[in-house]
Amino acid sequence: MNIQRLLAMAYKETLQIWRDPRSLAVALLMPLMQMGLLGYGVSLDIKHVPLCVYDQENSQASRAVVDDFTASNWFTISHTIASEAGIRRAMDRGECAAAVVIPVDFSRTLAATGSAPVQAIFDATDVNTTNIAMGYAQGVVAQTNATIAARWAASHGVQPSLVGRVDFEPSVWFNETLESRNFIIPGVVAVILALVGAQLTSLTISREWERGTMEQLISTPVTPLEVMFGKLIPYFAIGLLDAAFCLAVAVFWFHVPFRGSIGILFVTTALFDLVVLGIGYLISVRIRNQLGASQVALLLTMLPTTLLSGYTFPIDQMPAAIQVLTYAVYSRYYVTILRTIFLKGGGLTDLWTPVLGLVAYAAIIIWLAARAFRKHL
């Protein structure tokens, strides 16, 4: 590979992207739009979620649970009612966004078994608010548990961690397949990379055919590898920039916890970027018109990434055959890595299988792409 030719190719491609409003829009606006769509309607600073309380027992123990809810500042009691139908009515009117139901035998069960259920109901019409409220409720219940455990332990002389739990049983109304936002947002990076990377590169060779510049290009001594890498360099950079932008938005705007290593994140993001660029490039070599190429790119990247990567639909809930199929979807590996890095903070030891999957995928795709382009008509 000749460096001068490689750089000339990369520079020329950069100029063309820079002067093509459509490419620029995809590169710059897509990530913004996608992130915006996700965050649409989210009020991040939720306090005083109106809470409807249905305390069937009204004992000291049950009132303590309700007090914990109000003391948190996250919830304000809007209704105290005496029937299940009341919850429905309040939610329909939009007067409350969540409800707690404490069963009639709450303190008895707690005393007998050391654990008792409390039901929490959420109006999930607004998914994001619900996610946040659910997190808050979990926090409150954890607090209650700690108190109960400590009290129980003191009076029975045992370890606090072994006893006394209020079982938190959230149930979601109006939107049963609700996913936690923290769970989804890291995966958006994969979607955006797939979208931007493959869309842009799918046009790069087909554009040369369509505009009639290919014949002249292949009459020069430039090699297929120089064409490929030269063309991919600017798109690779755009992909990484877009990914950095999305990750920053996820962490600093949506406050998704980030617990893992930036180094692993960078390397795996670069690998995933290579895979989607390689796929876009392969498509571009095969399909000689821009429209067709971009359609196929959408089909081969966005579809599997949104449906089969586990980004929104958990893989372990898919039918067995589909689960097997997801191993062929490169985004599956990356989404797993993203989620682990963000939420669990795993290192390479936890991640070596998906990382290996991604490495293998990148190697195969780049190998295929390098062989795909032929320098004749």
Binding site: Q16, S219, K375
Partner: protein, 316 residues
């Protein structure tokens, strides 16, 4: 290295190419000496572009050999590309890049060092009169400017063989003259040029011509020899009604062909002495009084039509 005057720059043997059932190029042989300006002429679909593409190593022949500057184009396409430059029939540069950016890009692809690229592009831009426009996007150039830019990009690496597919189609006469001035200059420098053209005046400027038809070379010689080989004699009939004149003489005994050339009709006859009075009578019969018949020197277009039969390249 001193180039021998008669060294063969392009040698083609048994070259063939088919597209499905269309036999675009059929078993052609060619030898172009170094420093020649060699012309390919023929009607649309004769196979000019297909030959050019195979010479430029961007299209693989079905059969045959091509040597460009001593390099086997079929076996060593990439090495051959270092020796030649190809300007496709359709404008092949980047319209969203400026003149300077296009030149730089192609210079780099041909491995011209940066400093040399700057100096040479300056020189070429100046010669082509494009220096003031070097920051203009190629897409915003006139047809003639585009073709000159194409030529500059082809010349940035000093090729030994230049392949130009209809380089002046759609270019105004003044720009065409400039273009040819550059070509003559190149030939002085020992560059071999193979071009295809639809303009007969350009064909006349070539050192040798290959007349193509149906993928075959029907005749290949200097313009002078081709004219001499034209069967019959040529008469020019001037009149205010050239179409009526052509109508009147067509199909008359001894008339081999009649071609409209502006306000005149070129009529090819078997025997001028004998046919002039006959034609004069035939025209008068049609009520055309102003016709003047004179013997004429054949242009290459007349030769072209005479040699290739009834295909007329510029029938209005």
């Amino acid at each position: 290295m001193m180039a021998e005057v008669n060294e063969i720059a392009v040698r083609v043997h048994g070259l063939s190419k088919s597209f499905g059932s269309v036999r675009a190029v059929r078993d052609i042989d060619l030898a172009v000496a170094q420093g020649e300006i060699f012309g390919l002429v023929g009607p649309d679909g004769a196979g000019k572009t297909t030959i050019m593409r195979m010479l430029a190593a961007v299209l693989r022949p079905d059969a045959g050999e091509i040597l460009v500057d001593g390099v086997d184009v079929v076996a060593e396409a990439e090495r051959a590309k270092l020796h030649l430059s190809y300007m496709p029939q359709r404008f092949g540069l980047y319209e969203d890049l400026t003149i300077a950016e296009n030149i730089f890009f192609y210079g780099a692809l041909f491995g011209v060092p940066r400093g040399e690229r700057i100096a040479r592009s300056q020189e070429l831009l100046e010669a082509a009169g494009l220096l003031p426009f070097r920051r203009r996007l190629a897409g915003q150039l006139s047809g003639g400017m585009k073709q000159k830019l194409g030529l500059i990009c082809a010349l940035i690496h000093t090729p030994r063989v230049l392949l130009l597919d209809e380089p002046t189609t759609g270019v105004d006469p003044v720009s065409r003259r400039d273009f040819w001035a550059i070509l003559y200059n190149l030939r002085e420098g020992g560059v071999t040029i193979v071009l295809s053209t639809a303009y007969m005046d350009e064909a006349e400027r070539c050192s040798r011509l290959a007349l193509l038809h149906g993928g075959e070379i029907r005749h290949c010689d200097t313009p002078q020899h081709l004219k001499a080989a034209m069967p019959g004699a040529l008469l020019a009939i001037a009149s205010a009604h050239p179409r009526d004149v052509r109508e009147a003489v067509s199909g008359k005994p001894g008339v081999l062909g009649a071609l409209l050339m502006g306000d005149r009709v070129h009529v090819r006859v078997d025997d001028a002495e004998r046919r002039i009075p006959e034609l004069r009578a035939a025209i008068a019969d049609q009520g055309i009084a102003d016709a003047v018949i004179t013997p004429a020197e054949p242009g290459i277009e007349d030769v072209f039509v005479a040699l290739l039969g009834e295909e007329k390249p510029h029938e209005p």
